[in-house]
């Protein structure tokens, strides 16, 4: 059993351990222990990978190949294998996932309701995510992909807030519909290569050695890209994201926006672009346009949101648009930027959702206008929130800037197959998002944390008691999103919680946010490490494009 298998097995074993733990109080410790091990394991793999492939970068680096491959037959007659491997792109994603799940467990420290199921599902989800990032057999990939997506339904449905069933169902169905397209694409890849060469195999590396007919690529590429795009929140298939995130509990939002949405970008890059370069060339401009809409649309959409989670969800739509935009540029900088942005957005949005959870746990509201001046009472959270916000608007020093500058550079440099006027125009349009992002981030955070704390009316206390127990009503407001149905709340005081008396972060919360911020800053300040990691693994993709 190779070390990569352990990366998949450890979360699964943790799931089993969580289920077997007799005392519900200990479950979170078990989960933390398991994810801690996973974190260490990731570090070991990273070092091993670095030792194997980090020595030199560029086209001839070892990292252009898969490392630490584990490969054996599964369904032999169909060419289905258990095939794990890792390259720079996978490595960065694995690192992201380990960090997010570890902090996710920390952020779920206070889950009291059905703890066992919660952590078990969370860990099943993560098992799937690790599996996806490490699989190089499409069948295995797809298996893990759906394992990663489905637990979301219950996680949102049981522990969510607001119209949780609706959101959970919408999210699940949209993602599954996306994976339906992916499935068709995979089978087309498998059979086209098989019928032509006589060797049927789901092995990604074998498929990559095959030149698919151009007309076949032309219809398969958009299917796979869009299929993954749904998970990457591509316009107009992004609407699961706001509702889903708004309804989900903290750790789930973190994992979902932080890691799961990355599966979309990862798949689009690793499979759609890698295997179908001609299709990519044919469709890239179209998808660049679509993702430009994503970027701006998400940003403008976020301006008008009243619920912090909707706010972040729309911002995620915008940022994930950057990922797909980067992929659609089809050049080194764009692709690298896309991977960087996946990492960066993963950490950043994880931080965002963790913080929202922390604030919500105190104020019992997520409605932005209901809050104000919280920096006074929870300075730590405010600072973290602002760091997340600044990272989100692409402030240098945080990873988002590195990623976005790559993507915009990539977009502006364009590629050999598309009109440079078009790509440049789209890039400039997309770059406009940095202003809009600044607008919504500062407006949103400003309202919540700065200014005076709204007056606390004793009167509103009583009428809020009723809704206090079931937090359902807050989310219901979220569902209305932009309509501004918050008249009732608009005035003052968040549901009878005296904002002036709230407390700052606890130790676990500080730890959670601290880890995430450290990641953001490390990559932002020393991007070269990540870049070396990723760059070599982009070459195989680029080589197939040329």
């Amino acid at each position: 059993m190779g070390i990569l298998s352990w990366l998949v097995i450890v979360p699964f074993l943790t799931t089993v351990a969580v289920i077997a733990t007799p005392n519900p109080k200990q479950i979170r410790w078990v989960a933390l222990f398991g994810t801690g091990i996973q974190l260490i394991l990731t570090a070991v793999v990273a070092m091993k990978f670095w030792a194997l492939a980090g020595a030199e970068t560029g086209e001839h680096s070892m990292a252009t190949h898969l490392c630490m491959v584990e490969q054996f037959d599964w369904f032999k007659s169909l060419g289905i294998q258990y095939f794990l491997g890792i390259d720079g792109i996978s490595m960065s994603m694995v690192m992201l996932t380990s960090v997010i799940i570890f902090t996710g467990v920390l952020a779920s420290w206070n889950v009291e309701n059905r703890t066992r199921e919660f952590f078990a599902l969370l860990l099943v989800l993560v098992t799937g995510v690790f599996g996806v990032f490490l699989s190089f057999d499409l069948f295995l990939f797809f298996t893990f992909y759906e394992v990663a997506v489905l637990p979301m339904y219950l996680l949102i449905g049981i522990w969510g807030t607001g119209p949780k069933e609706y959101s959970a169902m919408k999210l699940t169905l949209m993602l599954m519909a996306g994976s339906a397209f992916i499935l068709v694409g995979f089978l087309a890849l498998y059979h086209t290569a098989g019928q032509s060469t006589g060797v049927y195999s789901f092995d990604l590396t074998k498929m990559a050695a095959f030149q698919y007919p151009t007309e076949m690529q032309a219809w398969v590429f958009p299917m796979i890209f869009l299929g993954f795009g749904v998970l990457g929140a591509i316009y107009p298939f992004h609407t699961w994201s706001p509702d889903g995130h708004a309804s989900a509990p903290t750790a789930v939002s973190m994992l979902h926006a932080g890691v799961l949405m990355k599966l979309g970008g990862y798949g689009a890059l690793r499979i759609a672009v890698y295997l179908l370069p001609e299709g990519a060339k044919e469709w890239a401009l179209f998808f660049m346009g679509l993702t430009t809409i994503n970027i701006l649309y998400g940003a403008f959409g976020a301006i008008r949101q009243k619920d912090l989670k909707y706010f972040t969800a729309y911002s995620s739509v915008s940022h994930c648009g950057v990922v797909l935009f980067g992929i659609a540029t089809l050049n080194m900088m764009g692709l690298k930027g896309a991977v960087l942005q996946m990492f960066s957005h993963g950490i950043m949005t994880g931080l965002f959702f963790a913080l929202i959870g922390m604030v919500y746990g105190r104020t019992h509201t997520r409605i932005i206008p209901d809050m104000g001046g919280l920096a006074k009472v929870m300075p730590w959270l405010a600072v973290c929130f602002y760091i997340a916000g600044l990272a989100s608007l692409g402030l240098p020093g945080f990873s988002g800037f590195v990623a976005e500058s790559h993507v915009f550079m990539g977009g502006f440099f364009g590629n050999a197959w598309h009109s440079s006027t078009a790509t440049r125009t789209l890039t400039i349009l997309a770059a406009m998002s940095i202003v809009v992002t600044a607008v919504y981030v500062l407006r949103g955070l400003g309202t919540v944390f700065l200014g005076p704390i709204p007056a606390y009316h004793e009167g509103s206390h009583h009428d809020a008691q009723g809704t206090h127990g079931t937090h359902g009503t807050h989310g219901a407001h979220g569902a209305h999103g932009a309509h501004g149905a918050h008249g009732a709340h608009g005035a003052h005081g968040a549901h009878g919680v005296n904002l002036a008396k709230l407390t700052d972060a606890t130790f676990t919360e500080k730890l959670t946010t601290g880890i995430l911020i450290a990641c953001l800053a490390l990559v932002g300040v020393f991007p070269q490490f990540m870049i070396n990691l990723i760059e070599s693994s982009i070459y195989p993709i680029l080589n197939r494009l040329h």
Binding site: Y297, G301, M333, P396, G397, F408, M409, A431, A438, G446
Partner: protein
């Protein structure tokens, strides 16, 4: 350790201070934070002066620019092969000049703040921010490439944002900080696109084999290379790129029409206004244009934009400054006006007539000191009378004598009275205009100089002369020694810096003939300044509002328009809230929830409806089932037959 070989130490000190203070000291003790921050910036200042000494002692073969050194550089970001961003410290005359200015003002402001901010909530936080700002500003100044410039550009922007919004519980401060950040961010978009353009075409130029040895496509050395510039011009992109970059500069230096954030930025603590919004950060735009001056000079149209916008802003701001009552706002508009001055000075310079360049840098240098002095002085006053409104002051001359004296020096300096610093630098700008035969700019500059003298004197008289016009003003008292020391130091600097033979240190292009004071300029310059001062003296000496009422009503509507700053804030508010928010953001949000999401829900609805329709076919009638069965069999048989035939 030779500083010139390790100049990174200068920005590293405040960074160190930022991290240490921010992470460890601030939570423990605010006071210690102040002391630590001040000390570290003091060290940085010492290092900066050492560097200046060492740099300017290097051999200089006379004429034009001194050679730039790059003693420290490392690869920070590799976009791709042949497209790398290095971080480093570039040592040349203007960066050294800026280093000294920034560290000096920053140190003095730190010192000043230890007393000024005493007892404020978030004392430690304040010094954390200050350190961050200083670090960012120093990083900006030493940037050897446009990308590093952009990185630190954003960082100073965010420090500025943090400091303006320091009093975060004050809604006005919050919205001012937001406004400052967003407006400059908007300008930075242009900057960013400009960088993209330069990077892309620079890369193409390098692929074409030109300027391969001049560094990376984003390096300033590359962008100063004449061959490269010619090539870029041939591609027809240089002007466009530079105008885009200038947009960024204009945002940071608050050029019209992006000036609106600066007056509002005065909501921050006054020392911050002195440091960021007067002496250092706002001149970053000027600095950027100066940095790229070789490129600009290759694109005369872009330079012309700089010149025109600069002059217009200068005049525009000066006119508004005459009507404002908030002392800090007047200073802010005055800053605007002076920045415009520097900009147009750069704009009228060329490689052949480079006096404007030197003059702009000179004015930047001197302005930093006397404007910081003005702000700090104003701060001392405000600290004492707890108001910004000049009409609520008055009679402070006797109560705050040292403050009064230093403030007077600063007013005279900015008005351009010999032998104070402002006189020399302003004189140089005007003579540059004259020598370049830019008479419009010359006369414009003269008028602005007069206006400057007028409004500066106006606030001076209203603040210090006449009788106290409020309770606080009558109980005002002199500030503490820690506050006064920086004032005194700055007033000394305001007096002396004019005498520096600036062209010896900072120059570009053709060697300048050593010129003394150009009497053709000095005389009219001094004349308008005196006229301005006198006019002010007659109008505001008593601080009696009635004296000016007549004048004000004489101007009537025009006065109101000016006082309202030409309604620019309102226009912006209209555009952002009423147009962008209402007609873009709201519809987008609506569209998303109703059309796009509606589409998703529609598909669900359709599914259910189709299901419902199909359910109806399951009538429960056995014989209906039978009919389906029989027809099904018939159809399937037919289909079998049809597919084969």
């Amino acid at each position: 350790m030779s500083i010139i070989e390790n100049p990174w130490i200068i920005p590293a000190l405040p960074l160190f201070s930022f991290l240490i203070v921010g992470l460890f000291i601030r939570p423990v003790s605010g006071k210690l934070a102040g002391i630590f921050g001040t000390l570290s910036i003091f060290c940085a200042m010492v290092a900066a002066y050492t560097l200046a000494w060492q740099y300017f002692s290097l051999d200089h073969h006379g004429g034009g620019a001194r050679s730039a050194l790059l003693p420290f550089s490392f690869e920070w970001l590799r976009f791709m092969k042949g497209m790398t961003v290095n971080f480093g410290v570039m040592v040349d005359s203007i960066s050294v000049m800026m280093l000294t200015v920034v560290t000096t003002v920053s140190f003095l402001v730190h010192l000043y703040s230890t007393s000024y901010m005493h007892g404020e909530d978030g004392y430690g936080r304040y010094f954390t921010y200050l350190s961050l700002f200083t670090f960012s500003m120093l990083g900006l100044v030493v940037a050897p490439n446009i990308f590093q410039m952009y990185v630190f550009w954003e960082l100073v922007g965010v420090s500025s944002f943090l400091l303006i919004g320091f009093y975060y519980q004050k809604p006005a401060a919050v919205s001012a900080s937001k406004k400052a950040f967003i407006v400059t961010r908007f300008a930075d978009l242009g900057f960013l696109i400009g960088i993209l353009v330069l990077a892309y075409f620079g890369y193409q130029v390098q692929l074409g084999g030109v300027g391969v040895n001049a560094g990376q496509a984003v390096d300033f050395t590359f962008l100063s290379n004449p061959e490269v510039l010619t090539k870029l011009n041939e591609m027809g992109v240089l002007t466009l790129a530079l105008i885009l970059v200038y947009a960024g500069a204009a945002g940071k230096s608050a050029m019209f029409p992006l000036h609106i954030w600066l007056p509002d930025a005065m909501e921050g603590p006054t020392p911050v206004s002195a440091l960021i919004h007067a002496a250092t950060m706002v001149v970053a735009g000027v600095y950027l244009v100066a940095r790229l001056f070789p490129a600009f000079s290759a694109a005369p149209n872009a330079l012309e934009v700089v010149a025109v916008v600069g002059l217009f802003t200068s005049a525009f701001a000066a006119i508004i400054a005459c009507t404002q009552d908030d002392i800090k706002r007047v200073l802010a508009f005055s800053t605007l006006s002076q920045l415009g001055y520097m900009m147009f000075s750069l704009g009228i310079a060329t490689m052949e007539e480079p006096l404007g360049y030197t003059a702009a840098m000179f004015h930047l240098y001197t302005h930093a000191f006397f404007k910081a002095l003005l702000f700090l002085g104003a701060g001392a006053v405000i600290h004492s009378v707890h108001t910004n409104d000049v009409w609520k002051m008055g009679g402070l001359k006797s109560k705050m004598p040292i403050t009064h004296f230093t403030f007077l020096i600063a007013v005279l300096a900015i008005a351009g009275i010999w032998p104070l610093a402002g006189f020399f630098s302003k004189d140089e700008i005007l003579s540059a205009a004259l020598e370049s035969h830019r008479y419009f700019h010359f006369y414009g500059g003269l008028v602005i100089a007069g206006l400057t003298a007028f409004y500066m004197a106006r606030i001076y008289f209203l603040t210090f002369w006449g009788k106290a016009r409020s309770d606080n003003a009558s109980h005002a008292h002199e500030a503490s020694a820690v506050i006064l020391i920086p004032l005194v130091i700055l007033s000394v600097l305001s007096c002396t810096t004019g005498w520096i033979p600036f062209a010896h240190f900072v120059a570009i292009g053709r060697e300048l003939p050593h010129t003394g004071i150009n009497m053709a300029v000095a005389i009219p310059g001094t004349l308008v300044a005196v006229i301005g001062l006198l006019a002010s003296f007659f109008l505001y000496r008593t601080g009696d509002a009635k004296t000016v009422d007549g004048l004000v009503s004489g101007f009537g509507g025009l006065y109101r328009v000016i006082k309202k700053k030409f309604y620019f804030d309102e226009i912006y508010l209209f555009v952002t809230h009423k147009i962008i928010f209402r007609f873009v953001a709201t519809p987008v949000a609506w569209f998303d929830r109703n059309v796009v999401d509606g589409g998703v829900n529609l598909s669900g609805w359709t599914t259910r409806k189709a299901g419902y329709f199909l359910t109806l076919m399951q009538t429960g009638q056995l014989q209906t089932y039978g009919v389906w069965f029989v027809l099904g069999a018939v159809v399937v048989s037919t289909l079998f037959w049809m597919t084969v035939n």
